[in-house]
């Protein structure tokens, strides 16, 4: 008898869903493999150039890359421990939910916009220039270089680390808090016995994640770093290709960056961190308030300080943006063109990203079902865990590889849209997988046997079972991938030209031309676009049992 769509059968030839997953995997492999082929081909052609590029300058750049990442991690993670603890100690106060929501915003903001916010606040002509100059004892020089990079990285990662730690703290069962209150534990005792154990368990993972984000940070260093003394490998790759046109040096830099990233991944997996940060908003469990009066004051100061630090640049983006001549910007044809280009590329990237992710999630589900009894097969793991590691291959590296490969074609800038769409799509795949897979796997666990026993398959199964359940996560992934692509400056910085301009590229150009007000106005626009998409991605379905 005809056996169709029957995942439990052993020895099936090729299930369509597995086939689609394989195709997605192959597409990603081509993108990454092509980049490496470009680099290896170039290195093989002239390896002496790449070798001689390993000079003192490069070592300085590598050292700075590590140094700024280590400092950023320290300055983000240690304060976050205490801010998270303060927030956990006060599960209910006016504005708590708003603060947590606000702490989620930096993650949704394009790095470019955040960097502009930092400059608008602490820059040479920033809102704080005067008081800072007074403290400095002379004219405020602005925060370019290491200090600027650190401030921007902490702006991003302090709230992220705080949310992750808070999440960890809220895994402490409410009964343990009640017990602590009953036994009369003081603040120090509860910290030592209850809070520190869970914080320590997540500390290494969170630190590794932040470190990873900081060594692959491109946009912030490009905008806030200054000169050869404050350059990271990624920015040096960009400069080698766009300004010096020195592929040999670029390849040496890429090799070094990959080595660093690989070492960091090794660290992250060893420490058991999640390569893609959890975006979930923790909910406060019922818990007795334990803090005494002195601690209340300290906690309030801590929370307010963190709040001011995070909210400051955001407020500066809004204020500086509103000071720009928005009416003129709104009538500027270059802005129209860049907005249209950005939106079209972002939509294409999002659709591609979600299609790849869904194909892989669905194929993994089929494979996991078929091979339930043994260890997960290589293919199953490729579609599951490995896909997450695409995230850690920096877009600049992939872009640079293709840049080197394609530069002889003479079509480099015409290929810009293709590169932007594909690289951004693949970069968003791990996030899309994270958005889709839990719902997909839960639905499969709940519905597969029932659907199979009722004979539902093919389109009727998709229409009646899968689509209603997956509609929400698919849209979430779509919005998220779109926001990610919309704000990206990495690939477009390499491939952008007067012919193909996205909003971030236009913004960078206006900054370069010292049209700061224009840049601020565009940053506000871009920031609002991305936040709208991210909030769309964040809305959870109303709980219904």
């Amino acid at each position: 008898m005809a056996v169709r769509d029957e995942p439990l059968r052993r020895g099936f030839p090729i299930e369509p869903r597995v086939g689609a997953g394989l195709a997605a995997l192959a597409a990603i492999a081509v993108l990454i493999g092509g980049a490496f082929a470009g680099m290896i081909g170039e290195a093989a052609r002239d390896w002496s150039g790449a070798v001689s590029a390993f000079d003192g300058y490069m070592m300085r750049v590598a050292r700075f890359t590590l140094w700024q990442a280590a400092l950023s991690t320290l300055l983000s993670v240690v304060p976050a421990l205490f801010v998270a603890r303060a927030l956990a100690r006060h599960p209910r106060f006016f504005g708590r939910a708003a603060i947590l929501r606000l702490f989620g915003v930096p993650l949704a903001l394009p790095a470019l916009v955040a960097a502009l916010g930092v400059l608008a606040l602490y820059g040479r002509a920033g809102y704080f220039a005067e008081p800072l100059g007074w403290l400095h004892g002379g004219r405020w020089p602005g925060i370019y270089g290491l200090s600027g990079i650190l401030v921007a990285h902490v702006f991003f990662n302090l709230p992220l680390a705080t949310r992750l730690f808070l999440h960890a703290l809220e895994t402490i069962p409410a009964d343990q808090w009640r017990l602590a209150a009953q036994l009369g534990m003081n603040g120090r005792a509860t910290f030592r016995l209850l809070e520190w154990p869970v914080l320590r368990a997540s500390l290494s993972g969170v630190a590794a994640l932040v470190f990873m984000l900081c060594i692959t940070s491109f946009t912030i260093v490009l905008l806030l770093g200054g000169g050869p003394r404050a350059t990271t490998l990624e920015v040096a790759i960009y400069q080698a290709l766009r300004f010096d046109f020195d592929p040999a040096r670029a390849i040496a830099l890429i090799g070094l960056q990959l080595a660093l990233v690989t070492a960091a991944i090794f660290l992250i997996t060893r420490l058991g961190a999640d390569a893609a940060a959890d975006r979930g908003l923790p909910v406060a469990p019922a818990r007795p308030a334990l803090a005494g009066p002195l601690e209340r004051v300290l906690n309030a100061v801590l929370i307010l300080a963190a709040l001011a630090f995070v909210a400051g640049p955001m407020a500066a983006i809004v204020t500086a943006g509103l000071e720009a001549d928005l009416a003129r910007l709104a009538a500027d044809p270059a802005v129209h063109a860049a907005t249209a280009t950005s939106l079209v590329l972002a939509v294409l990237a999002a659709i591609l990203s979600v299609s790849l992710a869904y194909a892989m999630v669905s194929a993994r589900g089929v494979l996991a079902q078929a091979g339930r009894r043994g260890r997960p097969s290589l293919l199953e793991r490729a579609m599951g865990e490995w896909a997450a590691f695409v995230l850690v291959i920096p877009p600049i590296v992939i872009g640079a590889g293709w840049f080197v490969l394609l530069r002889q074609t003479g079509q480099l800038f015409a290929l810009a849209p293709v590169m932007v769409v594909t690289v951004n799509a693949v970069m968003a795949v791990p996030f899309a997988i994270r958005a889709i897979r839990p719902a997909h796997d839960a639905a499969a666990a709940r519905h597969d046997r029932l659907a199979a026993s009722l004979g539902m398959s093919g389109m009727s199964r998709w229409r009646l079972v899968d689509w209603p359940v997956l509609r929400r996560p698919l849209l979430t992934a779509l919005a998220f991938a779109m926001a990610l692509s919309l704000g990206d400056l990495g690939v477009i910085a390499l491939f952008g030209s007067d012919a193909v301009q996205t909003l971030p590229y236009l913004l960078l150009q206006r900054m370069g031309a010292y049209r700061t007000a224009d840049a601020a106005g565009l940053a506000l626009f871009l920031g609002i676009l991305c936040l709208l998409l991210m909030s769309l991605a964040d809305t959870r379905p109303t709980a219904r049992r």
Binding site: L450, A452, S453, G455, M456, S457, M459, V465
Partner: protein, 242 residues
């Protein structure tokens, strides 16, 4: 009420069936006459759910044959087997209303004729849920949700009914109610019923036969009266008495 060998049921036979996963080996030999009601009992991990899954087609045996109504169904997909199954939970799609969930028993693509819809309403009426067609599963109690599942069984009219601890999450009163509904259904349709349960009283109230599983094998199979008498199998009595 149960052992009337109704022609509307189908005999089930597991012929030298072996199966293994996660290092656990299972081996089943079983012959259940058509129209029999069997309570499947045994400790956790003894293979009760696996036994049902093998009959329903959710698992394929490594060796041996599964026969239903005398036909070898070993290679048949679950939907082609003359079997309905009721799980402990997740018998309903949460986003489809009650009528749609029952209607799936008639058409898996939910293309229902006017007569089908009337039948759905009649089936719901029969399980005591008349007028609740438009409700979503989330608006029903646990007992009502299982009634919806039974209404679908009624509509499907397959000769074999497998139940995997269907009433385990219900309170004692509700469970008795559901058991009598099930008994009534069985008396009407005469199907062969295999029900996994942990409660001896379920077996006593409903089943003519008991199959006692231990370590992935059917250790004893026979009439319920004998199982619950002083001459019942030793292993079974140890299991019941703890």
């Amino acid at each position: 009420m149960s052992d009337d060998n109704s022609p509307r049921g189908a005999a089930i036979e597991l012929d030298d069936v072996s199966f293994g996963f996660d290092g656990a080996r299972m081996h089943f030999d079983l012959a259940v006459a058509a129209g029999t009601v069997v309570a499947i009992m045994g400790a956790s991990g003894s293979g009760k759910t696996t036994l049902l899954n093998l009959i329903a087609g959710f698992e394929k045996p490594e060796a041996g044959r599964v026969l239903i109504g005398g036909r070898d169904v070993t290679d048949w997909p679950p939907s082609a087997r003359p079997v309905s199954m009721v799980f402990q939970e997740n018998n309903l799609f949460a986003h489809l209303d009650v009528a749609a969930n029952v209607g799936l028993g008639r058409s898996p693509s939910l293309r229902l004729s006017e007569k089908d819809r009337t039948d759905v309403s009649a089936a719901l009426e029969h399980v005591g849920l008349g007028g609740k067609e438009r409700r979503l599963p989330g608006e029903l109690s646990g007992g009502e949700r299982q009634r919806v599942a039974l209404a679908r069984v009624l509509l499907r009219r397959r000769p074999v009914l497998l139940l995997d601890e269907p009433f385990a999450s219900l309170g004692p009163g509700l469970r008795r109610e559901m058991l009598s509904l099930l008994a009534d259904l069985q008396a009407r349709l005469g199907m062969t019923v295999l029900m996994v349960t942990h409660h001896p009283e379920d077996a006593r109230a409903l089943a003519g036969h008991v199959a006692f599983l231990s370590g992935g094998r059917i250790e004893a199979f026979g009439e319920a009266d004998r199982f619950f008498s002083d001459t019942g199998p030793q292993g079974f009595r140890n299991y019941i008495e703890g």
